[in-house]
């Protein structure tokens, strides 16, 4: 377990995280379903978590992994409140399509 990371440069983790983050951005822009957009936000948070764990492992610093823990805490709270808001929206408009919420549009 100690020598398992030999041969993986940190650049590979950076590129993987960037790719996952951009897939998340693409999903938020591409889909109009509010639930799928929430899931893409979770995907972006996970890409950042992966990069923080990789850097903490490569630099030998524990702080990065503690921050990943706090990001997970905030993500759980955000999902609880966000899905409650989504339920309210569905109750009022009978759909989760965000294009129906255009009253702030000029």
């Amino acid at each position: 377990m100690k020598e398992v990371l030999i041969g993986i440069p940190i650049q590979w983790y950076i590129y993987l995280s960037v790719t996952l983050f951009c897939i998340g951005i693409f999903g938020v822009l591409f889909r109009r379903n509010a639930i799928i957009m929430f899931m893409c936000i979770e995907l972006m948070l996970n890409a950042v978590n992966l990069l923080m764990v990789a850097f903490s492992r490569y630099l030998g610093d524990t702080g990065g992994q503690v921050f990943v823990f706090f990001v997970m805490v905030v993500a759980a709270a955000e999902v609880a409140v966000g899905l409650a808001i989504l339920m309210m929206i569905y109750r009022n408009t009978k759909s989760t399509d965000i294009d129906t919420l255009n009253r702030l549009k000029w």
Partner: protein, 167 residues
């Protein structure tokens, strides 16, 4: 090529492919299941990085709690069929182009970066529960307590928002 590189490529391939399928699948239930696969492969990356505690937390919190919450909401709203009406193609093409440009510019930016780190060999067991718990309860005590307040606020907010209004 060492075994760890094969593991890295396999886990990355699974993560990226299922992340794309989350977006491209029309059925929200299938999207949730693909996202669970993505989170499992990211958990595999955590194990590869020797972060055992975060591996367990990722599986319990993300795939166990958050995704079940998503599935529960989809079930309650009865969204398991395709309800998205056919939209115009211009916003979708614009979304693809802008996300692609963002990816390209980030990669071009990172190509010039000079990061040549080797895994820190002296303390490779920083991700174990004992070390992480020591740091969490000594240096990060105040943020830990504040996060409990955040959870309390989120719980009150969720209950308050989902309560039926009585007129």
């Amino acid at each position: 090529m060492p075994l760890s590189q094969y593991l890295f490529f396999f886990l990355s391939f699974v993560a990226v492919l299922s992340a794309l399928l989350v977006i491209l699948d029309k059925n929200p239930v299938h999207s949730v299941l693909y996202l669970i696969i993505t989170f499992f492969s990211i958990a595999g990356h955590f194990l590869l990085l020797n972060a055992n505690f975060l591996f367990i937390v990722q599986i319990i919190v993300y795939t166990g709690a958050i995704m079940v919450l998503f599935l529960y909401v989809i079930m309650m709203l009865n969204l398991n069929k395709e309800i998205e009406p056919h939209k115009k193609n211009i916003p979708k093409v614009a979304a693809a182009i802008s996300a692609g440009i963002f990816l390209m510019s980030l990669i071009a930016l990172l190509k010039g970066a000079d990061v040549n780190l080797l895994p820190a060999a002296r303390n490779s067991n920083i991700g174990l529960l004992e070390n992480l718990g020591n740091v969490l309860f000594k240096e990060y005590m105040l943020p830990f307590e504040i996060s409990s307040l955040l959870f309390l606020g989120a719980m009150v907010g969720a209950v308050f928002l989902s309560k039926k209004e009585i007129n």
